[in-house]
Symmetry: C2
Subunit: 190 residues, 2 copies
């Protein structure tokens, strides 16, 4: 998606440790006009899959997922991050390790909000090692549902997440794939 | 807002400790069709105030704020919750005590995303003791900006938050004000 790539080149900042900071438009300040174009792109790609629900994860996936949901006309469920293993209640839970924060947490979704009738589009802002998306896909499977696909704003193509998800048969659509960002220079995959 | 009140009556669950559980449509599973109507109501009330930015707080405010932003045609900034007092970087920070979770945390916003030119609409899903909304208003003031108003989905009218915010001169628009919920029966303020 050309508009997103241009925006990343213009406003993205490469930080030590392969961090790409895009908080001025994606995950702290959110450019809703850009999100509409992103939602339209996701719909163009996944619109004919019979999606019944969008699943994302707090906090930075929520805005993108909600705007995308306007096109799909479906509800959004956001998974919650839970620091401990002691989780009460009737929830699906998987353990996930965050690339950015270098720590593990549990991702939980109430059993009431996913079912075997669901065909779920997973949406998130970043795909790096793929643990979050993989965890969300596992939760959909636990519920007996199907994963329609995975929609990602920015994939770090130099990390293994995208490759792993695709190897597991998931249809991953990333709007921008960063091939490398050495010396602060961001190069996209064609 | 009649539609929201009906939905709360239909799907809201009153729990011990004055908890109103609305996670089937507001803050875990999100009904985007309802959010559009809520956004339209906020715009009807605040649309002529020259709002330049919507400010909310992770995670449950983000969806409502993003959909509302479509009507206002402005970006959304979401404040982040930070567990410790050791906060690095160039941020505005206030301490807030959560009613639901009974613990304190710091609310932070990057200084880059609020300025003295901003006229900010604060949006959140719940208003109980008012600490979160008050904290967000304080952050706007720290940045030298103005608060155009506070848009809330559900206000607990039997707690002091709404009264306190209004006493401080803030224009608070709550789409549904719960007057009481004794014995599990939800009564709204007219």
């Amino acid at each position: 998606m050309e508009l997103l790539k241009q925006r990343i080149q213009k406003d993205g900042e490469v930080r030590a440790g392969n961090i790409l900071k895009v908080d001025s438009f994606l995950n702290h300040r959110m450019d809703i006009t850009l999100f509409k174009e992103m939602g339209r792109e996701f719909y163009e790609y996944f619109g004919d899959r019979g999606v019944t629900k969008i699943l994302t994860i707090e906090a930075s996936g929520i805005g993108i997922a909600c705007i995308a949901a306007l096109y799909f006309d479906v509800p959004v469920v956001y998974a919650k991050k839970h620091p401990t293993k002691n989780i009460a209640g009737d929830v699906y839970s998987v353990e996930v390790t965050s690339f950015t924060h270098g720590r593990s947490y549990n991702v939980i979704v109430s059993k009431r909000f996913l079912s075997e009738d669901d065909n779920v589009l997973i949406i998130d802002d970043f795909l790096a090692n793929g643990c979050a998306a993989r965890g969300l896909a596992d939760i959909v499977t636990m519920a007996g549902g199907r994963v329609a696909g995975v929609g990602i704003a920015i994939e770090k193509g130099f990390q293994a997440g995208g490759e792993n998800l695709r190897a597991h048969g998931l249809d991953v659509k990333s709007l921008a794939i960063v091939e490398s960002m050495e010396d602060g220079r961001i190069v996209f995959r064609d």
